[in-house]
């Protein structure tokens, strides 16, 4: 659909709102793309590369576009053009290489876990001086630290005297409350269909606990969960960086592995990966061999909250915590999933959801944005952290590992005790307390 230049996208764009340059707005970027197509602008020009690079890819412009411009698709094409026209920055090139190899991914995640376990990340991050040069290292370490399962709400949440979750596993005391809601229907095992969980790369490497929680809550809600080997990184990082060659390679591997499993649904608990899987049909549309299976896989992909939300969602035990919900861009803008994560939180008695100002605005994480655009990404991230702190919540729930780390790192460096969690982790905890997992 063509852009008619109405400008309705301008106020929705985090970069335009902060910079005020038309070139940093969706309308301006589309204009640059069009100029390249018309041959009026070189894809090698600094203007094209800088402003296409500076886009977060949050797609907040799509739901406000009356003409239905598919900005995300056009951006990917523009990114591919940029990627071909020049070498990617070294750090980005390295990340793309690492995540396109399963062995390298596993190895780097192992290293990351060791660093995290040693607890050095947080310590070092806070000591590295705040300046531009050190920013990537400082923030990177803080992100790693933020992926740790930090304890939250040690005061409000301990009606039974135990912290809700900690690395030490002090949970058992909390499971005996037996306050299971009367309304919770108990499903027969597996009656709602076979589900494969996309384990992902970062999610599997640093957030295995979210994957485990996803598996448990799916089972508790009547899904049969199938373990599917041979799957890997979804390739979203590559698509967004313009490296569509590697993105397609990764997509093919996933299509092959997941299609063979013959499941009803593929559950994804990372918004960016869910959006990527749902667009596999488009990514592989020129691939005769894979196209149809890719489309079928895309059609069966669901965010975890989509599989859970609904009248049939089981209600767990009370979890008296104050939570605010940040809507990951690739959940609300790219997938149009808005109410479902709130429904997941709604199934937890005594959990209070506090409204977050500009909840649907990007947190500045945006893949490698924090590394490539430390200043602007930092500003956007700082606004999100301030908004979270203003709610008075003790937990910020968000459905994407990148956002959990970005917001978590920002909070950490602010010296705040507020932690970032996936909504499913909270539901899992509520179920654990309700005793849904006893004897399993």
């Amino acid at each position: 659909m063509p852009c008619v230049h109405c400008g309705f996208c301008l106020p929705a764009c985090p970069t335009y709102v902060r910079l005020g340059d038309e070139n940093d707005s969706p309308r301006g970027r589309l204009y640059l793309m069009q100029a390249v197509v018309e041959g009026r602008l070189s894809p090698e020009s600094d203007a094209f590369q800088t402003h296409i690079d500076r886009c977060l890819g949050c797609r907040a412009c799509e739901p406000v576009c009356p003409s239905g411009v598919e900005y995300g698709v056009l951006l990917e094409a523009a990114r591919e053009t940029v990627y071909r026209a020049r070498k990617a920055p070294a750090v980005v090139a390295m990340l793309l290489a690492v995540f396109s190899s399963r062995a390298l991914t596993n190895w780097s995640m192992r290293v990351a876990r060791v660093v995290r376990a040693l607890g050095l990340g947080g310590l070092v991050a806070r000591r590295i001086p705040r300046n531009r040069l050190f920013h990537p290292i400082r923030f990177g370490l803080a992100m790693l630290e933020a992926s740790r399962e930090r304890q939250f709400g040690s005061e409000t949440a301990t009606s039974s005297g135990a912290p809700i979750a900690s690395d030490g596993g002090a949970l058992d005391a909390a499971t005996s409350e037996g306050e299971t809601s009367e309304s919770a229907p108990a499903w027969r095992a597996g009656e709602r269909g076979r589900v494969a969980i996309l384990r992902g790369c970062v999610q599997a490497g640093l957030f295995a606990r979210v994957n485990d929680a996803t598996e448990r809550v799916l089972r508790a809600n009547g899904y049969e969960v199938i373990e599917v080997s041979g799957q890997g990184c979804c390739g979203a990082l590559h698509t967004h960086a313009g490296d569509s060659m590697r993105a397609r390679k990764l997509a093919r591997a996933n299509v092959k592995a997941l299609a063979a499993a013959e499941v009803d649904f593929v559950a994804v608990n990372a918004a960016g990966c869910g959006a990527a899987l749902k667009e596999y049909g488009h990514l592989l549309e020129a691939d005769e061999e894979y196209r149809h299976t890719a489309e079928a896989l895309a059609a069966s992909t669901r965010d975890i909250s989509e599989l859970l939300a609904g009248d049939s969602l089981r209600v767990g035990a009370p979890l008296p915590v104050r939570v605010t919900y940040d809507a990951a861009c690739h959940l609300c803008h790219a997938q149009g999933v808005r109410q479902e994560p709130l429904a997941v939180l709604g199934a937890i008695p005594q959990l209070v959801v506090l409204p977050l100002q500009d909840a649907e605005e990007c947190c500045g994480g945006a893949g490698t944005y924090g590394i490539t655009h430390p200043e602007l990404g930092g500003d956007i991230g700082a606004d999100k952290v301030s908004a979270v702190l203003a709610t008075g919540a003790e937990i910020v729930a968000t459905g994407n590992p990148g956002c959990m780390m970005q917001i978590g790192a920002g909070l950490l460096l602010e010296g705040s005790d507020v932690v970032a969690r996936h909504p499913v982790e909270l539901l899992d905890e509520s179920y654990r307390r309700a005793g849904f997992y006893d004897g399993s």
């Binding site: 659909m1 309705f8 301008l10 335009y16 005020g20 640059l32 203007a47 094209f48 739901p63 009356p66």
Partner: protein
């Protein structure tokens, strides 16, 4: 109109401007100026010499002072949503944009006043006033994106201006930077100043007198009750007749809008689909607001008039959600035209309400004769028409036919006793029609006023008045 090939900004001028606003806020390389070729009316494209984005009155004043010393023409720009080409700059002119001047300077709920920077978005002002039960009344359809500075320049209207009036009724004071860089205060709360009403002159001057850098506006308390109706018609003319009858009945709706068949189908294909029946040829959105008591009887009388005019169905929005959906559909209609065509020219004219049906029929005939799709979505209660002419820029002949049809539509409006613009301004696009509605003496009077504010003719040159040569001497 001839596009002047831009000479690059001289280093000296560039450095002076950067010295005021900072390096990042002077855009001068040719590639980055492409995005500033057009505002909301893409039929015209011109590349400016440079774009400067100052942060406050002081920076605007210093920038304007430098540009005055260098004798460089200036074009103000808000969000670039204007539909008359008012923010287009020739290659020798610098655009001074307000995109970074978005602050609320003062919100005074007790006195129902707000003072804002000109880059603040119209809808953001109402959002800020809402917690106090207040709102800003003028609501151009682009209110989610357009700026208050732009609204002042164009004296913008909007659907609810039928009852509440246009921007000039709400602006109580302005801080203005003159073309020479001087800072002057016009109007202002509590000091209804003696002397000439310069504030009245400035509002609607389309950026030709100076740049408003602070805007003080009046806010209104939100009405106690609101009722919104949707009437569906099988013929556009019947909807026009209903409008005439509703107004003749003595009713004063807050808004009275017509959306025709092609527009309905564009909106319904978009994310802002509001449930307008796609087989209808016209829909009327009618809103009444005010004290709760009495609203029901107004609604009842309007329903009777709609049915008498041939409405096949009249619905009353049950919920606030349904009401907002109708308005979203109506207000996003312009943007939704991309669903049915690549480019569009939104025309803007007014006619007496009693002539609506006749004029709509003539516009439809013009469309048929020039083989163009024309979609109508407009403020019917005001007699303010917005025929949207759909075209494809790459088709030179179609563009030529759009020009012809536009001229004929303007002539029809004027012949019917109306005028060439309701709210989008004259800008670049309408100056050629000015002599249809103004005598040479009237145009001279306007020229004299312009010369008082801008003796050297540096401020938004080539706009509004027809036969002043523009900054490059190119005539339209």
């Amino acid at each position: 109109m001839e596009n002047i090939l831009p000479e690059p900004l001289t280093k000296k001028l560039g450095d002076r401007l950067r010295g005021v606003v900072g390096d990042a806020w002077v855009i001068a390389d040719a590639d980055r100026l492409l995005a500033y070729e057009s505002d909301g009316l893409t039929a015209y494209r011109k590349t400016p010499l440079a774009v400067v984005l100052p942060r406050d009155t002081d920076e605007v004043s210093r920038v304007m002072g430098i540009l005055a010393e260098e004798d460089v023409p200036v074009v103000p720009r808000g969000a670039g949503t204007g539909l008359s080409g008012g923010a287009l700059a020739n290659g020798d002119a610098v655009i001074v944009g307000t995109a970074r001047m978005t602050d609320m300077l003062e919100l005074d709920p007790d006195n129902r006043l707000a003072r804002v920077q000109p880059g603040m978005i119209n809808a953001d002002l109402t959002k800020a006033a809402e917690p106090y039960g207040l709102y800003y009344a003028p609501d151009p359809s682009s209110q989610s994106a357009c700026t208050l500075g732009g609204n002042v320049a164009e004296n913008s209207g909007g659907p609810h201006c039928l009852k509440y009036g246009v921007t000039s009724r709400y602006v109580t004071g302005l801080t203005v930077v003159t073309p020479e860089g001087k800072i002057i205060e016009l109007g202002g709360f509590g000091r209804e100043p003696g002397g000439y009403d310069l504030l009245g002159l400035f509002v609607g001057s389309e950026g030709c007198f100076g740049i408003a850098t602070e805007i003080e506006v009046r806010l209104l308390p939100k009405p106690e009750g609101v009722k919104t109706l949707l009437a569906i018609f099988d013929r556009l003319g019947d909807a026009g007749a209903a409008v005439t009858e509703i107004m003749a009945e003595g009713l004063l709706p807050a808004a009275l809008e017509i959306i025709d068949g092609p527009t309905i189908r564009a909106v319904e294909a978009s994310v802002f689909a509001a449930g307008f029946p796609t087989d209808a040829e016209a829909a009327l959105v009618i809103e009444f607001d005010g004290i709760e008591a009495g609203l029901a009887s107004d609604v009842e009388r309007a329903v009777v008039q709609c049915r008498a005019a041939g409405a096949r169905e009249v619905r009353i929005a049950d919920s606030e959600e349904e009401r907002l959906a109708l308005w979203r559909g109506r207000k996003k209609a312009f943007g939704a035209m991309g669903q049915i065509g690549n480019d569009l020219m939104v025309q803007d004219g007014t006619v007496p309400r009693s002539k609506l049906t006749e004029v709509l029929a003539r516009i439809s005939e013009i469309g048929v004769r020039h083989d163009l799709t024309i979609a109508n979505v407009f403020h019917a209660g005001d007699g303010n028409l917005h025929p949207n002419l759909i075209f494809d820029r790459s088709d030179a002949d179609e563009l030529r036919r759009v020009e012809l049809a536009s001229t004929e539509i303007m002539a029809v409006c004027v012949e019917a006793g109306g005028t060439i613009t309701g709210e989008h301004g004259v800008g670049l696009d309408k100056r050629r029609y000015m002599s249809l509605v103004h005598t040479p003496d009237e145009l001279d009077a306007m020229r004299d006023v312009k010369a008082v504010f801008d003796p050297r003719g540096r401020m938004n040159p080539g706009k509004v008045l027809p036969d002043l040569p523009d900054s490059a001497g190119a005539a339209v």
